[in-house]
């Protein structure tokens, strides 16, 4: 080739590129969808609701149970990471990693289900049956209800975001609601969910009609609506799909999804939950950041209090460790969101409040006898309520219960010594306080 030809080629090459420049510069990812194509047909609608469950998994795997236990008295800090020390000491700054991550995780999930609720009804895909559409929508309403319920009991009256975020300006102007308004929204969503969702005899890791009812029973309990709490708890208890496992440890023994489980989030080798890592000592490969408190260990190993529930711990004092999350080799522990045992204790508390002591004791003793501890009997309302509170503490020791129960019953001061009621709510994340003109921080932070 003569040099001059080579030269002209070299000059031509960029010119050619220049003309097709615009197209040349278009690059799209192969692992993400453009927002406008996110929910457009049956497969994307299914993917979106699966993505919402994944979001719930995200904050329920470890963070939410940590928030429900660590600020109370069953679990203490034993590691190096400050966020857990802060929770244990109830000295929680607004940028505490765990509270921030949980708050973000819940709202992220709410945004996903808001999109499902907004876009799925308008889909015209012949492959998307009406039944499936209703199921997806019902699940979305349930997940939103669960999200706002968990926000409400942790942070108080949060901001109610009910539309998907398409751009930032659309989100402006939403102020904080009262806790009661948040719970109203939860109720409204649960009613929708109960209507839309199917019910079958086996599903425990996706929302069903009875899942919505179970959460509703808990909502009524939190609101002190005893009759409704009793009513919905009863509906679930009467569903033959649910039975307490004969032994306490049955519900957290592989392959999981026990008959006692009303709603649990399933993990798998491809979708791991390594929460066990925070509980196990390093000799078993863990970090041992979360440790059963000495008082809890002495209670749970007491045959008249813990009974079979001593299966929650292993090792010897003072190095006992919690084994509710125990799949150390596979990291597939489920998150236990609602169990049948809770329905009994909800009904027991509701009945006690309604002065039906016999009924209350009956339910309480169902749980006690399953754990192999002697029946409790008393005719004093105060004593019965205290017994139910203690039973909850042991029965759900490492699940997201104890802290929220003590706050709900306003006994966190008396039982835990946290007299400053400001600390009964978690702080709104610092980044929200800085970036959101519509939010007001919880008092005391």
């Amino acid at each position: 080739m003569k040099p001059i030809k080579l030269t002209s080629l070299l000059i031509l090459a960029p010119l050619l590129f220049f003309t097709s420049c615009k197209k040349y510069l278009e690059e799209i990812p192969d692992d993400a969808l453009a927002s406008q194509n996110a929910i457009v047909d049956v497969s994307t609608a299914r993917a979106a609701i699966i993505g919402a469950y994944d979001g719930v998994q995200g904050y329920y795997a470890g963070n939410y149970p940590t928030l429900g236990t660590m600020p109370a008295d069953n679990v203490v800090f034993n590691g190096t990471l400050s966020q857990y020390l802060q929770l244990d000491q109830n000295a929680i700054p607004a940028d505490n990693v765990t509270t921030v991550a949980t708050y973000q995780g819940i709202y992220k999930t709410i945004n996903t289900v808001n999109s499902v609720i907004a876009y799925v009804p308008g889909l015209n895909d012949p492959l998307l049956s009406e039944a499936e559409k209703n199921k997806i929508l019902g699940e979305a309403y349930f997940i939103r209800a669960l999200g706002y319920f968990d926000l409400g009991r942790g942070w108080g009256g949060v901001q109610l975001q009910l539309q998907p975020t398409t751009d930032l300006s659309s989100a402006k102007g939403i102020k904080r609601s009262t806790l009661s308004q948040v719970y109203d929204q939860v109720l409204a969503d649960l009613i929708q969910a109960e209507t839309l969702l199917p019910d079958d005899a086996t599903t425990r890791n996706r929302a069903q009609k009875s899942t919505a009812r179970a959460l509703r029973a808990r909502l009524h309990l939190y609101r002190g609506e005893w009759a409704s709490a009793e009513k919905y708890a009863t509906q679930v208890i009467l569903n033959t799909k649910y039975r307490l496992t004969p032994a306490y440890a049955g519900f957290f023994t592989a392959p999981f999804l026990s008959t006692e489980s009303i709603f649990e989030l399933t993990f798998s080798p491809n979708d791991k939950n390594s929460f066990w890592n925070l509980w196990y000592p390093s000799s078993a490969g863990g970090q041992f950041t979360l440790k059963p408190s000495a008082t809890f260990v002495s209670k749970v190993t007491d045959p008249s209090i813990g009974g079979g529930r001593k299966a929650l711990i292993a090792g010897t004092s003072p190095d006992s460790y919690g084994v509710l999350y125990n799949t150390t080799s596979s990291s597939t522990d489920p998150s236990y969101v609602i169990r049948l045992a809770e329905m009994y204790l909800i009904r027991a508390e509701a009945r006690a409040q309604l002065d039906d002591y016999t009924g209350a004791l009956e339910d309480l003793n169902v749980i006690r006898s399953r754990a192999g501890v002697p029946d409790f009997s008393s005719l004093s309302k105060v004593d019965i309520l205290k017994a139910i509170e203690d039973e909850n503490s042991i029965e759900f020791a490492f699940e997201a219960h104890r802290w929220f129960d003590l706050v709900r019953t306003r006994r966190a001061g008396e039982v835990l010594g946290i007299t400053n009621q400001n600390y009964w709510l978690f702080p709104i994340p610092l980044s929200d306080v800085l970036s959101d003109p519509d939010v007001i921080q919880n008092p005391g932070y």
């Binding site: 040099p3 080579l6 030269t7 070299l10 960029p14 590129f17 420049c21 040349y24 510069l25 690059e27 990812p29 192969d30 692992d31 993400a32 453009a34 927002s35 996110a38 299914r46 699966i50 993505g51 919402a52 994944d54 590691g79 190096t80 990471l81 802060q86 000491q89 109830n90 000295a91 700054p93 607004a94 709202y107 992220k108 945004n111 996903t112 999109s115 949060v158 901001q159 975020t165 398409t166 930032l168 989100a171 080798p269 979708d271 890592n277 390093s282 000799s283 078993a284 863990g286 970090q287 041992f288 000495a294 150390t328 080799s329 596979s330 400053n420 610092l430 980044s431 929200d432 932070y445």
Partner: protein, 1014 residues
């Protein structure tokens, strides 16, 4: 070398050939040698004045010419030497010794897309010779620039060989976009993306520039101001580093060089923790106090004074060795030149078990296909191998597992197996079993063709690839804590970072007019640049035995992959005009379009302009008789930064992989920003360079003012939107500073020579605009903060005023004076950026001996000593021991100390001067008690070398033999209490600089070496 000279050389050469045939009559024999008195110069031009005839010397430097006249004047020229005219005066044999032209060599430097004469450049540019960086046992040439160039702040993040470094040219321009400069090697834009995926804590894992063998480098040019960098448009704002590697010379015989050195390194200072009895005593004291305060009563350790002490930290350190070999050959024929170089480096870390090994090969070749067309190639091939080890915030790191465990706890269980405590692993288990191999293969190649239409007009087209592949295989066996639960776990990563660049540049360089008073140096060009990042990973858990380590045989396996590509199209032009060697005006403009930018802002334009006045050329300055040279420069321009915008950051996306129940899921991941675009840095630079005292003192001074706008920021947005942040162009940061360098020839008499080089740089960084404060760092402790009105890398902490001598409780400053200690009482108490950095080099030579020493210094930076935080904890960390500093705690009323009374009582954390906030509570981790001054002056290198005299080397048929001894980091003057003040353990994020956290310190090295040239 300026291509202009090469071309002239060639033109002359061909002219000579054609003339040669017709010549006859008188014959003159001669020899051309260099001014060292012995080296023959092959290929020197000899022109007979007035006859338009010329000849070339042969490989012995000899020539024979025939001429009609007995007395002729010969003009003898050779690149790199001063041209000499000599009259034959009737002689038939002559020997001419040409004088080295130092000025010419130094004056022509590589700049953006061209070479220019330094005397006329308005931009702020530093050049460093490859020779100044050789034989220093550090893997990356960028690391070796520490203290050598003004305006450049370099520090190693740890003492791990081949480990990451912090490199900033004139400060941090950005917050979220990269602040690393653009590296260009022989015209190849190279990737500075760390390819290692194995998590090593929060540190950047490696220095990708360590793939380049410093021995191959001829020169390094650092472009600092906008005048110099605007031509690189949206890639230039952080400065540009242009590396030119060695090439052969036309008509030169092969020069073969061999170098080797051996070094041994050790820690200058080692970790020291409290003994077993001390730890037990402190623990009991805290338990007693806690119970007294009303906290839980925990049983005391019995017989604290008879507790054993297990020294773990000494097990970490070793005498580490470094070996290096270099072999190279360079030379050229009349039409082609070559350089081939091979290198091997193996360097151990002073802390077990990590090491670094590198093989490099380079081949540079140029060929004149015709008198007008030249082609050439530069190819380098590198293989690196690292045995990596995690540290800093990973409790299962080697240092963590030795440093933090309480010293009274035995290393082994009674049955002889490894004992494990708290969150930590067993340090000996790690040292013996850690198996994380990272093998990198890197090809950097360039092929170019250059065609000269006219001597002054050339077109160059260049095609380049940088292909960086990393293959990692990790196996965690069941003797390690992380492998216990999984029955062994393995992971394998394959990562590819690839940069493809094509560029065309048309250059016009010409001087014209009477006395060549007018000079023009102009170019136009374009580039097309594609950056591809790809990664594939596989992990497996559950192995039959520790002898089986491949992912493929694991019981449970999973895999993942990712791919991202971005493209950049650019057009650029630059021109400078010089009048009468006095005044130069220049300007440049670049237009960039990037696939990363939002659709509304796809094209960016980056202009610059500058003016240079060589005042020393003016008669009135010359008459002063003070200045040998005086140059005044001013320039201004814009450059951009697009690094840090992810390839798809402008798009609104739902991410996939949000799976549940083995079904695929999607979820919103980012909001669209169609306006997303580059960051723009506006920079003004003024400088003066002058030489006085008969060329003995050269001083260069620069002042600059940089202002970066449209910062790419992940602006926090209300969480309730479902998003945490939104990437947008918002915010501004300013960097202002000055730089001075001084070169002085103190003594240059006969055999003795003494020169001094000193430089100092000052940069002041300030965030001018930010949407809201961004707090981050230290594993969620949010100690680092970005805040408007403060510098980046600031530390936000509670300020401890004193420890109350009566109560022993720490008292903190109540910033908002509300009577409580809350998050609002955190304040900025310093930052990790030094005020001043610089270096001082003294070089002495006497006959065949050379002696030099080099100090590096930095002043004004703070270090967050996380080791101190974790180990002076008042017993709040149940599984961690103590530093001896804990012994200084308050014990009884009247004690004056800054270490408060030991207690972990959990009281109301809002109350100041309460035991709740001594070690826990609201100030759990945020006290400035752990923040220290990190200023230091370090004797970085001290070198003594001896070159064999020519008489001996000639006998040995060698051209040069040099042997040396060198010591590195021999002594460090600092007040810092940790092991080493040159540290940044959280360097994975540029905004969390200045932490010291279970990190390998800089080694002290002694080294022996020899260089032989055949």
């Amino acid at each position: 070398m300026n291509p202009f000279y090469k071309t002239s050389l060639l033109t002359v050469f061909y002219l000579l050939l054609t003339q040669l045939i017709t010549a006859q009559t008188t014959s003159i024999r001669g020899k051309v040698i260099s001014d060292d008195g012995r080296t023959p110069l092959e290929g020197a031009n000899i022109i007979i004045k007035g006859e338009n005839k010329g000849f070339l010397t042969d490989k012995n430097g000899s020539f024979t010419i025939n001429t009609k006249a007995p007395n002729v004047s010969l003009i003898i020229s050779y690149t790199g030497f001063e041209t000499q005219e000599i009259n034959t005066a009737g002689r038939n044999t002559i020997t001419v010794a040409l004088k080295t032209d130092k000025k010419q060599l130094e004056d022509v430097i590589v700049t953006g897309y061209s070479t220019q004469n330094k005397r006329f450049i308005a931009g702020s540019i530093v050049t460093v010779k490859g020779a100044d960086l050789k034989d220093i046992p550090a893997a990356g040439f960028n690391q070796l620039l520490q203290g050598k160039a003004t305006g450049v702040q370099v520090s190693s993040n740890s003492g791990v060989p081949g480990g990451s470094i912090t490199f900033r040219i004139r400060g941090n321009n950005s917050i979220n976009a990269s602040v690393d400069p653009l590296y260009i090697i022989d015209g190849v834009f190279i990737s500075n993306t760390d390819p290692i995926q194995t998590s090593l804590g929060n540190q950047q894992q490696s220095n990708p520039i360590a793939d380049i063998n410093p021995a191959d480098i001829e020169t390094i040019t650092i472009l600092k101001d906008a005048n110099a960098t605007a031509i690189y448009g949206s890639l230039g704002a952080n400065g540009v580093i242009i590396v030119t590697t060695k090439r052969g010379r036309l008509n030169s015989k092969a020069k073969i060089s061999f170098s080797t050195y051996y070094g041994t390194s050790e820690a200058a200072k080692k970790f020291k923790v409290a003994t077993g009895p001390e730890t037990a005593l402190l623990t009991n004291e805290s338990r007693r106090n806690t119970a007294l305060d009303g906290g839980p009563s925990v049983a005391l350790i019995e017989n604290p004074e008879s507790q054993p002490t297990f020294n773990r930290t000494d097990d970490l350190f070793r005498k580490a060795s470094t070996v290096n070999y270099e072999l190279s050959a360079q030379g050229g024929s009349d039409k082609s030149t070559y350089f081939a170089g091979f290198g091997y480096l193996k360097q151990q870390s002073i802390i077990k078990p990590s090491d670094f090994e590198r093989y490099t090969a380079r081949f540079n070749y140029d060929n004149y296909l015709t008198s007008r067309l030249k082609t050439g190639t530069s190819i380098s091939l590198t293989r690196t191998k690292r045995n990596v080890s995690s540290n800093d915030n990973n409790p299962k790191g080697v240092i963590n597992s030795a440093l933090y465990i309480r010293s009274y706890l035995p290393v082994f269980k009674p049955d002889g197996t490894y004992a494990l405590y708290g969150s930590f692993d067993n340090h000996l288990a790690l040292i013996d079993n850690l198996d994380n191999d990272a093998v990198g293969w890197r090809v950097i190649g360039n092929f170019y063709g250059e065609y000269s239409f006219l001597p002054e007009l050339k077109l160059r087209s260049s095609w380049s690839i940088d292909n960086n592949s990393e293959y990692e295989n990790n196996y965690t066996n069941t003797l390690l804590a992380a492998g216990i639960s999984t029955h062994g776990s393995a992971s394998s990563f394959e990562t590819k970072n690839q940069v493809l660049t094509n560029e065309q540049v048309l250059t016009y360089i010409k001087s014209f007019g009477a006395g060549k008073k007018h000079s023009i140096n102009a170019l136009v060009g374009n580039t097309i640049n594609t950056v591809l990042s790809q990664a594939t990973s596989a992990t497996g858990t559950g192995f039959a035995t520790n002898s089986l380590t491949a992912v493929s045989v694991a019981a449970t396996r999973s895999g993942s992959s990712s791919r991202a590509q971005s493209k950049l199209i650019s057009f650029f032009g630059k021109a400078s005009y010089t009048y009468d060697n006095k005044y130069t005006i220049d300007g440049s403009l670049r237009a960039d379009a990037s696939s990363r930018f939002g659709i509304n802002n796809r094209w960016g334009y980056f202009p610059s302009g500058g003016f240079t006045w060589r005042a020393s050329q003016e008669d009135f300055i010359e008459r002063l008789g003070i200045f040998n040279d005086l140059k005044i420069r001013v320039s201004a321009g814009l450059s951009g930064n697009q690094n840090g915008i992810g390839p798809y950051a402008a798009l609104g996306l739902w991410n996939s992989g949000a799976n549940y129940l083995e079904q695929p899921g999607t979820a919103p991941s980012q909001l669209a920003n169609p306006d997303l675009t580059w960051e723009t840095t506006r920079q003004v630079d003024g400088g003066v360079d002058f030489t006085i005292l008969k060329n003995r003192l050269t001083i260069s001074f620069d002042y600059y003012d940089k202002y970066t706008t449209d910062l790419l920021l992940n602006v926090p947005v209300p969480t309730r939107t479902g998003f945490v942040s939104y990437l947008q162009n918002y915010g501004a940061v300013s960097n202002k500073g000055f730089e001075t360098s001084i070169h002085s020839t103190n003594i240059a008499s006969g055999d003795f020579k003494w020169t001094t080089d000193f430089n100092i740089s000052r940069n002041k960084n300030l965030i001018k605009k930010l949407a809201s404060d961004i707090a981050l760092g230290a594993s969620g402790r949010n100690i680092s903060i970005l805040k408007e009105g403060y510098a980046v890398n600031s530390f936000q902490l509670y300020k401890q005023l004193y420890v109350d001598p009566q109560t022993g409780n720490a008292v903190y400053e109540d910033v908002n004076k509300d009577g409580f200690i809350t998050a609002a009482d955190r304040q900025i108490v310093g930052n990790s950026l030094p005020n001043y950095t610089g270096g001082l080099t003294n070089t002495f030579s006497y006959k065949d001996f050379d002696f030099s020493f080099f100090f590096y210094y930095q002043e004004g930076n703070k270090i967050m000593n996380m080791n101190d935080f974790f180990l002076v904890h008042g017993n709040a960390q149940a599984n961690i021991g103590f530093l001896p500093r804990q012994l200084d705690r308050w014990q009884k009323p009247g004690d004056v100390t800054d270490i408060p009374r030991m207690t972990i009582f959990r009281g109301d954390p809002a109350i100041n001067n309460s035991s709740a906030n001594n070690y826990g509570g609201n100030v759990a981790n945020m006290s400035n008690r752990y923040l220290e001054d990190g200023s230091f002056i370090r004797l970085k290198t001290i070198l003594l070398s001896y070159t064999l005299p020519a008489a001996i080397t000639d006998k040995l048929k060698l051209s040069n033999v040099r042997a040396y001894v060198q010591a590195m980091n021999l002594y460090t003057f600092t007040k810092y209490g940790g092991l080493d003040p040159e540290v940044s353990s959280q360097s994975g994020n540029q905004n969390t600089a200045g932490y010291d956290w279970a990190t390998v310190p800089q080694p002290k090295t002694f080294q022996l070496g020899i260089n032989i040239t055949f």
